[in-house]
Structure formats: C-alpha cells, structure tokens
C-alpha cells in the first residue's frame, strides 16, 4: 500500500477487539485493585516540629552504617516516592545495603503556614531534624540526601551549616535554573511573583500539578491514559499505574512566602550561579559546601534538565565531587527497575568510601 498508512480493515478491527478485551478484563481487575497503598517500609516517627515529621525507616536488619542518612525531599510532592512500593523503593535498597535511613516529611501546609519562609524550612525544620539526629547518634554531623527542590534546600543547608553535614548527596537537583531547556524556569521569568502570592496566598496543589502537566501536555494528559488500556488486564501493572497517579496528584499546597522566595531567588535570580540567595539574612555560597558531594542527575529529566544539575560541579567548594548520570527520567530514577539495581548501591558505595 502506498503512503504512510498500511492499516487494513481487518487489522483495525483486530485492534479494536483487543482493546475491548482489555476493557472487559478491566471490569474485573479494577475492583480487585481496590485502594492502592504506598510506603513499603515500616517507619517510626522520631522527631516533630509542627506538621513537619522526621521518620526513621526500619529495615529487616539493623543498619551497619554508623552515620545516618537524612532524605530531604521537595515541597511539591509527597516524599513516599522514595518508598513507593516493595519492588520500587530507594529506601528499601538503601536499608538492604546497611544504611540507616531517615526522611523528613513536610506534611500538608495550610493557610496558617502561608508565612513560612525558606529560612523556616532550612534553618528551622532541616536544622532541627539534623540536630536531633546528631544528638541521637552522638555525632557532630550526618549524611544528607537532597532530592529535587530538597536538593536545593540541602545545598543551602550545607553551605550555611557545613559542620553538620558529613557527606552530601544531591539527586535530580536544579542548580543552574537558567539552562535554555528549563521550561519551568522559562515560564516564571516574566511572572510577577509578588502579585501572584499576594493574590492567592499559598499556592494550590492543583495549580502546581497543572503546571507540571503543561510541561508535556499531550503525553501526560492524553497518551498516558490511552496507555492505561494496555494494563487493564494486568492487576499488578494496574496497581502500579494507580499508585503512581496517586503520588503525582497527592501534592501539598505550597507555603506562599517560601514559594515567593524560591521563585525569586532560584528560578528568576538563578542565585546559585549569580549569587543573591539569602536565607534568614545570610547569603548562600556554594563555595562553602566543602564536604564530599555526590551529584546524581537523570539523563532524560524533563523537569530538571541534566545541565541544570551538572552545573554544581563548577560551583561547589569541595574537591571531592562525584557526578553520576542515571539513564532515565525524573521519576524513573526512583521507581524504574534500573534504578533499583543501580541507585542504592551507587549511593552506598560512595558513602562507604567516605565514612
């Protein structure tokens, strides 16, 4: 047949039939899936400040690592992405390697949190959790693993409190916010963020989600859901899909003042590169990050382009800098099967060499 299409009537009919069979199977599998749960690993609350909670993960065996590892996640999504399910868990992998893993859960800010600043997040919550861990483990410093925006926070914290961070790991962390392929940053450049926060206060989760969906609107709003048909007859695949959807749209609102500062200083001002980041009146210089740094970026990251992460290499003060490129995307770095094979082991090995 000539032209780009070679679709016969029979083939089209067969395709339709296959889709119908999937739909029919979905009538059975969907009710069976029920409510998808998340969080594969038992955890225990060990510290709290307001609605911010520090959890310790409990592995099958006691940790062998002497220095605890604190995971600092982004504000824009829930941190259980690092422990989504039994076979997709960065936490589980780290525990299996002997690490002692903690995560800081920011909770769901409400309107009374509107005036929380970046200083509150970094100098109050992160510092409070780190202090607690130092005290509990009788150590002067701990290991910190910052993810995405949490990585940016961790860099600020490490620059301001270097004596408290023994080793710093950043994952899919934006550092240079003005790389030409950074769509989010591009969109914020002409946004009047003062007007924005004055008008809406806390930034609603729905608004943030819609913004992320706009990064790849056709793939994320159309193709993904057409693809759902493929897994309707696969109970596990369906549960995985629904669990991921739950995580994607389970987003907290963002505290207005912290959002204002983050957009101004990071997205618009590109403060890590250009200077001008101030946390509680103290300027942040990445040159002050003198502890060993492991920077892990995702090679197909559409949210934090690789060059945005790799910029850290030329800015950070440490001479002990390692950079690892993961073959995958912003989410795949936690949940793909490749991630389970590679990421926990890479982190553990790097830390083990620096204990």
């Amino acid at each position: 047949m000539n032209g780009p299409l070679d679709i016969s009537v029979d083939e089209l009919a067969q395709e339709t039939l296959r889709a119908q069979q999937k739909l029919a199977a979905g009538l059975e599998t969907l009710p069976q899936v029920g409510d998808v749960d998340y969080g594969a690993t038992p955890r225990q609350e060990v510290w709290r400040d307001g609605r911010v909670v520090l959890y310790r993960f409990i592995g099958d065996k006691a940790p062998t690592a002497r220095v605890p590892l604190l995971i600092v996640y982004a504000l824009v999504n829930r941190p259980y992405m690092v422990d989504l399910q039994d076979d997709r868990s960065l936490v589980k992998g780290l525990l299996a390697q002997g690490e002692d893993v903690y995560v800081l859960d920011w909770g769901y800010p409400d309107r009374s949190d509107r005036y929380l600043t970046l200083g509150d997040y970094i100098n109050r919550f992160i510092d409070g959790a780190v202090e607690h861990l130092c005290r509990q483990h009788r150590l002067p410093s701990i290991n910190v693993l910052g993810i995405c925006q949490g990585g940016a926070f961790s860099l600020c914290y490490s620059a301001l409190h270097p004596e408290r961070v023994r080793n710093l790991i950043t994952m899919v962390t934006p550092v240079d916010f003005h790389t030409p392929d950074n769509m989010l940053s591009h969109w914020t450049r002409e946004m009047d963020v003062d007007l924005f926060v004055d008008a809406i206060g806390n930034v609603p989760a729905d608004m943030m989600n819609a913004c992320y969906l706009m990064l790849k609107p056709f793939r994320l709003n159309l193709q993904k859901y057409v693809g759902l048909v493929d897994v309707l007859d696969d109970r596990k695949g369906l549960a995985d899909f629904l669990r991921m959807e739950k995580w994607i749209f389970d987003s907290p609102d963002l505290a207005g003042e912290a959002f204002r500062q983050f957009i101004k200083q990071f997205y618009q001002g590109n403060g890590f590169v250009n200077g001008g980041i101030e946390i509680d009146g103290e300027e942040v210089h990445l040159g002050d990050v003198g502890m060993p740094v492991l920077n892990i970026y995702a090679e197909q990251d559409h949210l934090v382009p690789p060059n945005a992460s790799r910029a850290l290499r030329d800015l950070v003060g440490t001479e002990d800098y390692t950079e690892l490129g993961f073959k995958g995307g912003h989410i795949g770095i936690y949940v793909s099967s490749r991630a389970q094979r590679e990421v926990p082991g890479a982190i553990h090995q790097w830390l083990a060499q620096r204990q």
């Binding site: 679709i7 009537v9 089209l12 859901y225 030329d314 001479e319 690892l324 990421v343």
Partner: protein
C-alpha cells in the same frame, strides 16, 4: 478466564458483540468510501463505564475520569481518522488534514481548544470555574458603569470609583491576555500538524508504515510535543504566559478587594485580617525560637533539663553552631573560595563519561578526602578526588563491593563487566 466474574461482564460481552458488529459494518462500508461513521471509542468507554461496579467510584475514580475524558475524545477521533483511510492508498497531507479537521482547529473550537482551555483553567487553580462565577458580576459592573468608569475620579466616592475602574481594567486585560494565549496555542496547532505531516511522510517507505490506529495516535503525540516544546520555550510564549498569569492575579486581587469591602460593611472578618493574624503568629514563633536558642546558648545544661529537643542536643554534644557563629569562625568560613562560577555566557563543557574522567583527573590530586583502603586499585574518585561517570559504569566498577542481593546485575557484572 477469570475465577471471579464481575457483575455486568456478560452485559459487556453483549455490548461488545454489538459494538463489534457495528464496527464490522462500518469498516466494510469504509472500503473505498471517503468517510465511515464507525462507532467510536467513546461509545465503548461509555458502555464500559456504565458496567464498572460502583460506576468507577473509589480510589481509581479520578484516574478513570481522566481516562474516559482524554482517551475517549482524542483516541476515539484518531480511530475514526484511521478507519477513514483503512485499506486505501493515502498521502501524509490527507491524513494530517483529516486529523486537523477532526480536532476543529480551523474553526477555533473543538477538542484542541477545549484541551488547552482546560489545562489553562487547571493552571489557574480552578480559576476558570471561579471566573465563570464572578464574570456576570464583572460584566454587569462594566456595562452599567461603562461611561463614568473612564472619567476622572473625584468627590466622596473617589476611592471606590478608582477601585472599580481598576477592576474593570483588570478584566479587560485578562480577556486580552487570554486571547493572546489562545492565539499562541493555535500556533502550536499549526506547527504540530506540519510536524505530523512531516513525520508521516518519513514513514511512507515500506516497512516504515503505520499499521494501527494506536501507532498513528502515538506519532501524533510525538509531533504535538515537539511543536509545543518549541513554542513553549520561545520568548513569545514566556511573555504571553507571564502576562496571562499576571493579569489573572490582578483580576483576582480586584475581586478580593470588592469582597473585602462587603465583609467590612457587614462586620465580618476579611482575608486581610486572617493573613495579618497568621503573619503575626509566624513572627512570634520565630522570635520565641530565637529566645529559646539564645537562652540555650547561655546555659546549655539548664536547657537540657527544660527539655527542648534542640537544647538537649547541644547540651549533650556541645554547641558547634555557637562556635561557628563567633565572628572569627564566620570570617574564616566566608574567606573560603566562593566556588568557581563560570563567567556569564560561557558555555558548559560537554562532558562524557570518558572525557570527564580525563578532565577530572587533573583535579584528583587536590582531594582532601580520606584515602580509601583500595585506593591503589580503584579509579580516582575513590580517594576523594572529583569524578564524572555514568551510574551504569559506577555500578559495574563497584559491583564486587556490593553485599549479597544488592542488585540483580551484580553477578553478571562481577564476572564480566567489572572495569
């Protein structure tokens, strides 16, 4: 096939048979015809949704809603387009044109614009719904006061008049910005269809041809994403998006001010008052924390007894922060190099695992990290120098160090992949 047959499964089969027969008829008619009114994917999804136990309620409801809405509309239309050309020779331009027509792009309405309006509405945090609610009020205000809204304000109602003038202007600005945004989205459409046609042409060789409606749909998604990314990263989009956001926020603020006026008149608390209270609470919390910190620094032992978590930590391990925050310590810290930032505009060096390792080896000697046990047999990073590698190589390199069961690839790499 299944142990538990859900209620409605038999009905679905009956419906599927009916659907199947309709498809067969439609496709038989389609051979040689220009159009074929085949029953669409949306109908199948409607049947399916009706038969879903509980109507698809529960945890999966949101997902199913998106599935029905987006998958039904767009994939259904693409299936219609595929059916129209099934079994026929066709040109890329014809397929792209049929798809464009199905999405109603030329008419400026239909799925394409609905899609982007919906996204824009979501992006405004439900702004579209909110705007629909306040639009009659705003329209009425503008209609009734059109003439005097443009007059200079004076007299006892001057402030009110100015406020209303600003609000009316904000609505006009928003409408204009929305129009600009939609114009840019139509530009995306134009480029997306051009790209689609180009991708279709590239698939015209035997062996490269599209053989299913789904593959055709996926090709369209690729084309649309490419076109969208190009526009979304353009200065024009940045300007239009910024203006849309800013005008929308100005309009929100204007309406909020009006509502506050009403609240004040009725003696009800306003948002400004609530925000003010929250701001004071946040400030008080910070001041209280600072007082506690200062007190703890003065008397860590006493602080440990009073039981604040922070104080206990410092009392038991010494206040490293205090030492750091002495003027000398601060000066020493700030005297360290402020990074090695590139001059603005200097392009980042292209880094591959191989070349980066070579580049970094020059810095390896400057490392201050502790020497590792196996440094002599390991590459540079082991001893605390800087290194850039792919994670795959890294894992392969240290596969031998990983504990049992650490990863599936361990055994294989341990035998043959280790570098």
């Amino acid at each position: 096939m299944a142990e538990h047959v859900p209620p409605g499964a038999g009905e679905f089969e009956a419906m599927a048979r009916q659907f199947w027969n309709l498809w067969g008829d439609a496709l038989r008619q389609a051979s040689g015809a220009t159009t074929a009114p085949a029953p669409g994917w949306p109908q199948a999804l409607d049947w399916w949704s009706r038969l879903m136990p509980g109507g698809g309620h529960g945890p999966a409801e949101d997902v199913l809603q998106r599935f029905r809405q987006h998958s039904g509309d767009w994939y259904g239309l693409m299936q219609q387009v595929a059916a129209r050309f099934a079994g026929q020779d066709t040109a890329a331009a014809d397929v792209a044109s049929a798809w464009k027509q199905a999405l109603g792009v030329d008419a400026g309405r239909g799925p394409w614009m609905d899609f982007f309006r919906g996204l824009q509405g979501g992006g405004g945090g439900g702004f579209e719904q909110w705007y629909r609610q306040v639009a009659p009020y705003l329209d009425n205000l503008r209609r009734e006061n059109e003439r005097w809204l443009h007059l200079p304000a004076f007299g006892p109602a001057r402030e009110h008049q100015e406020r209303w003038q600003a609000l009316a202007q904000a609505q006009r600005d928003y409408q204009q910005a929305l129009g600009e945004y939609e114009r840019v989205m139509l530009k995306v459409a134009t480029q997306a269809f051009e790209r689609f046609e180009s991708l279709l042409e590239a698939r015209s060789e035997p062996g490269q041809q599209i053989t299913s409606a789904r593959a055709l749909f996926d090709l369209w998604i690729d084309a649309a994403e490419q076109a969208y990314a190009e526009v979304a990263l353009s200065p024009e989009f940045r300007h239009v998006y910024g203006r849309l956001t800013n005008t929308q926020m100005r309009l929100r603020l204007g309406v909020q001010k009006e509502i506050e006026q009403v609240c004040v008149a009725l003696g009800m608390p306003s948002r400004t008052e609530v925000d003010s209270a929250h701001r004071k609470i946040a400030e008080l919390e910070r001041q209280l924390r600072q007082v506690i910190r200062n007190r703890d620094r003065r008397d860590p032992d006493d602080a440990a007894e009073t039981g604040t978590p922070e104080a206990r930590g410092r009392a038991s391990h010494g206040d490293t922060r205090r030492a750091r925050q002495t003027p000398a310590a601060r000066a020493a810290r700030q005297a360290k190099p402020r990074g090695r930032a590139k001059p603005p505009g200097e392009p980042a060096p292209a880094v591959t695992a191989k070349s980066a390792s070579a580049t970094k080896s020059a810095r390896a000697g400057k490392g201050t990290g502790k020497p590792a046990k196996a440094a002599a047999t390991r590459p540079a990073a082991r001893a605390g120098a800087s290194e850039v590698v792919s994670m795959k190589d890294w894992v392969a390199r240290y596969a031998g160090d990983a504990p049992a069961g650490a990863g599936r690839s361990k055994g294989k790499r341990g035998q043959g992949g280790r570098k």
